[in-house]
């Protein structure tokens, strides 16, 4: 199907998408770069002008930045670790011959479809609330003092919520990968005298490595942007204990109305995300043809 006529028709069909995506990428990015070098406070519009690198230094050297970076890392890595490890274990379990595999799959996948503000509020109020959340009740039943999860361990609590949201995704993908494993390979390994644990580490895990990579990379994209969960649970607090990079930018822009600094933060976030993106592109690109 590679005749000249179809080539030019193809170009025509692709161009709307390309133009739109180009504008969607280039215009905001151009503006962010511009603003990141401008003094621009929505509440104080008279003090405008070029700011040089001061927005960047304000953002990067502000006490919040380091913390936000660390919090972002903890959030992303924590959720990745939890979802991948639990995901593998659950996938292995569901892959066994069991009664009702269909319903089990449906139950396990469900949290993925719950909108983030709902998950966050349900967890915040009905589980983490120290006085009448279910965990509070559990602590009371066990005779332990009430524990304010979101107050005393805000980041860990958010990691829990987000991990619950993404565990289904990881599980489902790992399960799919597991089911595509050729049973004869395992039987061959068994004939070769490999015990179950060795079969897992030498056959199953390498077979799943690609799926694990995909899970890690795709989740990373989404996790770097986690926002709604933080907004409705802790609003980044107490203090800045659960402020991540996206949330810090949001605070600078729409709470402090400091567009210049927020823009500089945006550029920092774009650069960080692109570092991750390069790895993702490589992994997915290999699979194209």
């Amino acid at each position: 199907m590679a005749t000249q006529a179809s080539r030019s028709a193809a170009r025509l069909m692709i161009s709307p998408s390309v133009i739109l995506l180009f504008l969607w990428m280039a215009v905001p990015l151009g503006m962010v770069i511009y603003y990141s070098f401008r003094r621009y406070r929505l509440l104080n519009p008279d003090r405008a002008g070029w700011a040089g690198w001061s927005n960047y230094s304000n953002f990067v050297f502000s006490p919040d930045f380091g913390g936000a970076l660390v919090n972002t890392l903890i959030l992303v890595l924590g959720v990745l670790l939890l979802t991948v490890i639990l995901g593998i274990l659950i996938a292995l379990l569901i892959d066994q011959p069991i009664w009702g595999q269909g319903p089990v799959r449906i139950l396990v996948i469900s949290p993925f479809f719950i909108m983030p503000p709902v998950s966050a509020l349900v967890w915040k109020n009905m589980f983490f609330n120290p006085s009448n959340g279910l965990f509070g009740e559990l602590f009371k039943y066990l005779g332990m003092p009430p524990y304010d999860f979101l107050g005393q361990a805000p980041l860990a609590s958010i990691v829990t919520i987000v991990a619950w949201e993404w565990l289904p995704f990881a599980t489902l993908i790992l399960l799919t990968a597991l089911q595509s494993l050729d049973g004869e390979q395992l039987e061959a390994a068994e004939m070769d005298g490999a015990p179950p644990l060795k079969r897992f580490f030498y056959i199953v895990l390498p077979h799943m490595s690609r799926a694990i990579t995909v899970v890690v990379l795709i989740q990373t994209i989404f996790l770097l942007g986690i926002f709604g969960e933080i907004l409705v649970t802790t609003s980044g607090g107490p203090g800045t204990a659960s402020t991540t990079l996206p949330f810090l930018i949001f605070k600078k822009a729409l709470l402090d109305f400091d567009v210049g600094t927020a823009a500089a933060g945006g550029i920092v976030a774009v650069i960080l995300a692109n570092i991750v993106a390069i790895f993702l592109m490589k992994a997915i690109g290999k699979n194209l043809d």
């Binding site: 199907m1 590679a2 005749t3 000249q4």
Partner: protein, 332 residues
């Protein structure tokens, strides 16, 4: 009606020449087989004729008219694909009717032709099934049915049997040959299997790297291969080749002798050797014999009592020796 002629047809993909300029005549009603190892350009050649690929240069004439620039559908050819390429969402009936529908044939005529094709191909009971519910052989027949209803001036087959199992392949081979005898329509058939080529073709075109090595009837190719490549490609088991002093005795660079033209004896003959493997098929016995001249294959009667390790003497039938010069070409 179905005379196809290619004049200096050439195909390049960028700098890569897939088919160097090539001339070929396919006569009306002929069954022509393009055969060659995979990657030899035989499928590309077929797709050029079909119009699914543009020619880089040269002309294609169908029934005397220049068809080089014609769209595939306008060439009056029908194609059966290796994957069958059935429309999975349509029933067998709709699959077969599709080309007629596209041509705007009246509904009544469509039904008549579909029923006829279904009868010819033993598909009448499956007309309302979908391709997914059919066996490989049935799918193959649907693909052929879709080609038949158009009453094309020529059928193009692209390795149509390669997805079938061995037994079915033999059946379909017969069916396609019978179809050709009934319809008497030109057929161009691409395969890598020289057995299919030998059994079905009126005329075989042996291709290698886009170059036509030889054109001829099956027996012509068998008895008088033009070069070493054709000699080795046509015939099963493969021809034995011998170089060196033994070939020089015959004034040739290489001599070839087919396994069936070697007689075997336990006590005397031209070449002494040891049997490494003997394959007893009942009707025939294939012997692999290690000789001073190299490993030779011998085809012998089914009852030959020779086994692994036996010492034997081989004698070629002198008039069946093929001689080739240092360019690999046949010495007449």
């Amino acid at each position: 009606m179905g005379k196809i002629s290619l004049q200096k047809v050439e195909k390049r993909f960028g700098d890569v020449s897939v088919i160097p300029p090539l001339d070929l005549e396919v006569e009306d009603g002929e069954f022509v087989v393009f055969v060659g190892p995979s990657g030899c350009g035989k499928s590309t050649l077929l797709r050029l004729i079909a119009g699914l690929e543009d020619t880089t240069s040269g002309k294609i004439f169908i029934d005397g008219a220049d068809a080089t620039q014609l769209a595939p559908a306008k060439r009056g050819l029908a194609m059966v694909f290796q994957s069958y390429a059935l429309y999975p969402h349509m029933t067998v009936r709709k699959n077969i009717a599709f080309p007629l529908k596209m041509a705007g044939v009246p509904q009544a005529e469509i039904e008549e032709k579909v029923d006829y094709a279904a009868r010819v191909l033993n598909l009448s009971n499956y007309l309302d099934r979908r391709p997914g519910q059919l066996s490989g052989g049935q799918r193959q027949r649907v693909a052929i049915g879709r080609a038949i209803v158009r009453s094309p001036s020529a059928f193009l087959f692209d390795e149509p049997l390669s997805n079938l199992d061995a037994a079915l392949r033999v059946n379909m081979r017969l069916e396609i040959t019978e179809l050709h005898q009934n319809l008497k329509t030109t057929m161009i058939y691409v395969t890598h299997d020289q057995v299919e080529a030998m059994t079905m073709a009126d005329k075989i075109v042996v291709l290698q790297a886009g170059v036509v090595e030889q054109v001829g009837s099956p027996l012509e190719l068998y008895h008088r291969p033009r070069n070493i490549f054709v000699a080795g490609f046509i015939g099963s088991p493969k021809m034995n080749f011998i170089e060196g002093a033994e070939a020089a005795k015959q004034d040739a660079k290489t001599i070839g002798i087919r396994p069936e033209h070697v007689t075997i004896s336990k006590d005397s003959g031209a070449w002494k050797g040891t049997v490494t493997v003997s394959e007893h098929l009942g009707s025939d016995t294939f012997l692999h014999v290690e000789t001073d001249l190299g490993l030779m294959t011998v085809r012998s009667g089914g009852d030959v009592d020779v086994h692994h390790g036996d010492t034997v003497w081989l004698t070629p039938e002198a008039d069946k020796l093929h001689r080739f010069d240092d360019k690999g070409l046949r010495i007449a």
